[in-house]
């Protein structure tokens, strides 16, 4: 019998419906795979009983939704009722929410079970998973040079990406503030989509930067992403930024026929210092989309180079405000033995937050402080308006934009930790779409010369996830990316 952990979600679903295997067998296969892969440090909490319960509900006909009996991994940023939700931080150690985040509730409504909570950068701040209080996730991928160096799966959804790539979850939730779904998807050779801002409810997701945070799925295939996104998305009155719009049948409308579509190629994304193989893959991507019937057009996004500095004002500013709630009073840890309330706040926050989170809170507090607010924060919001305008103009000339996902393949753990700016640059291609709130997706394109996955990145106009998914499907069909990390764990 085929190894169930090799199958896509669509194959699992169809196999269960067709009676080829039981949901319980699927859950058991995944529970065993999760337990055997602890060396990757991808899961922070395992919930095998939860996966089995959803499987039994599917097998007995009690649940018949789109994801009946499919076990999923859930990023630790999503509140899960009664199950530790820590955002990868010491300050939320042992926090067990008395409520379910809307996205997870939606997935459960569709019949999905939970394999466990997935490791991540602390409060989603990082591009390599090294800021997690649980220690870094190790990518299942290794370079072909025989060095066996531990590589990062990317971040912040690094546990999520590693879980799909290692076959210890058929699909997972991620969140993306400035590339946290797309960059790890690219690093691990899987698919991941960040939908239009507001498609997925942020209610019950631990906040990082509220005007940017957006949940999305990561999975082996484009079709699986369409299935998962369909179950995750939807209007939620509990989130004031949730879009009151119907959820299209993205899976049903999947088509890789792109005739009549124009693909924008932004000239500003040819950046000095990016390895040749990234640009070579980008050119291949253009050819694949042409083959699918699309016409490439050169476009200009003139404010591209200002996206990262804009992001690193807006995101920390919003973070400093969002993270003010962690003060040792209502939940999470508290440092005892201090005299005053003020001392308790500052001692708790000093002990509870890691270095990167503190750095970003400090930057955010600085740019929001009296005398600097207009010079930094308001200025960044104005530049953000220009970046959004760039995209609006570009989409008068094209239907979807193609770029590389990240400026490199996965790097080694520890290689970039000493230089925050070098780390921030890893999201250079992903951040502009986040600032503009647009749907964007990474799909595997090929391997670099060291045998590591590289991703291609598609950006669509707001609300048009379908064109993004369709273009990604066209690339998926032509790239023939079937590589999997060789099992060593």
């Amino acid at each position: 019998m085929t190894d169930l952990t090799n199958l896509s979600i669509a194959e699992l679903r169809d196999g269960m419906r067709g009676g080829d295997f039981k949901a319980r067998e699927v859950a058991e296969a995944y529970n065993a795979a999760v337990a055997a892969a602890r060396g990757l440090n991808a899961y922070t909490v395992e919930t095998p009983e939860d996966a089995l319960a959803a499987a039994d509900a599917a097998d007995s006909g009690k649940s018949t939704g789109a994801l009946a009996g499919i076990p999923l991994g859930i990023k630790d940023l999503f509140a899960t009722k009664g199950v530790d939700t820590t955002a990868g931080s010491r300050i939320l150690k042992d926090f067990k929410p008395p409520y379910e985040s809307t996205v997870v509730a939606n997935l459960r409504k569709a019949g999905a079970g939970m394999l466990g909570k997935l490791n991540m950068d602390e409060f989603a701040m990082g591009s390599s998973n090294e800021t997690s209080a649980y220690g870094p996730v190790i990518s299942p991928w290794r370079r072909t040079d025989g060095s066996n160096v531990s590589l990062t799966p990317g971040g912040s959804s690094g546990g999520s990406a590693a879980a799909v790539a290692a076959g210890i979850a058929p699909g997972v939730t991620g969140t993306d503030t400035g590339g946290s779904i797309r960059q790890p998807a690219a690093f691990t050779g899987i698919c991941g989509i960040k939908p239009t801002y507001g498609r997925c409810s942020r209610w019950g997701i631990v906040s990082f930067a509220s005007s940017l945070d957006q949940a999305g799925p990561m999975a082996k295939t484009v079709r699986d992403c369409a299935i998962l996104l369909g179950a995750m998305a939807g209007f939620d009155p509990k989130d004031s930024t949730s879009l009151d719009q119907p959820v299209p049948d993205w899976e049903g409308a999947l088509s890789s026929n792109l005739s009549g579509k124009r693909v924008g190629i932004p000239r500003e994304y040819r950046i000095d210092g990016v390895p040749d193989e990234i640009n070579v893959l980008w050119d291949k991507g253009i050819e694949w989309l042409k083959d699918a019937g699309a016409t490439p057009v050169e476009i200009s996004l003139p404010h591209t180079k200002y996206a990262l500095p804009t992001y690193y004002i807006i995101a920390p500013a919003e973070a400093s405000s969002n993270l003010a709630r962690y003060d040792g009073v209502r939940y999470g840890m508290r440092v005892e033995g201090v005299k005053t309330l003020d001392d308790m706040y500052s001692a708790t926050r000093a002990a509870g937050f890691g270095a990167e989170v503190k750095r970003r809170i400090m930057i955010g507090t600085y740019v929001l402080s009296a005398g600097f607010y207009d010079a930094y924060f308001t200025k960044a919001q104005r530049v953000r308006a220009l970046i959004k305008q760039d995209f609006a103009r570009a989409f008068e000339q094209c239907d979807v934009i193609l770029t590389p996902t990240a400026p490199s393949a996965a790097f080694g753990i520890g290689e970039k930790m000493s230089d925050p700016l070098a780390m921030y640059l890893n999201d250079v291609f992903a951040v502009p779409a986040s600032l503009a709130g647009l749907p964007a997706m990474s799909v595997p394109g090929g391997l670099d010369e060291q045998g590591l996955p590289l991703g291609l990145h598609l950006i669509g106009p707001e609300m048009d996830e379908q064109t993004v998914l369709n273009a990604a499907l066209a690339i998926e069909e032509r790239a023939g990316f079937t590589h999997r990390a060789e099992k060593w764990w």
Partner: protein, 95 residues
Amino acid sequence: MSVSPEQVRHIAKLARIAMSDEEIERLVPELNAIIGWVEQLGEVNTDGIEPLTAVIKQKLRLRDDAVTDGACRDAILANAPGAEHGFFAVPKVIE
């Protein structure tokens, strides 16, 4: 603009994060590198551009001014590091 150790100490106070002198010393060059880098936004002409506050245009919805949940005190207090008599407990504020 660049920050001095005194300013960083002040920011840490505003952010309610206790920091040792060594931490402050280490943060000064890190913050200055990041601040120096974001200052390239000064090159962009933003005259007459409205600051973007809502990335996808929509009206802010208001809900009815009515109680939508409640009677869940125990759930609210369940994760508190200190709770007494149905309240959050904190160190003494007034002597």
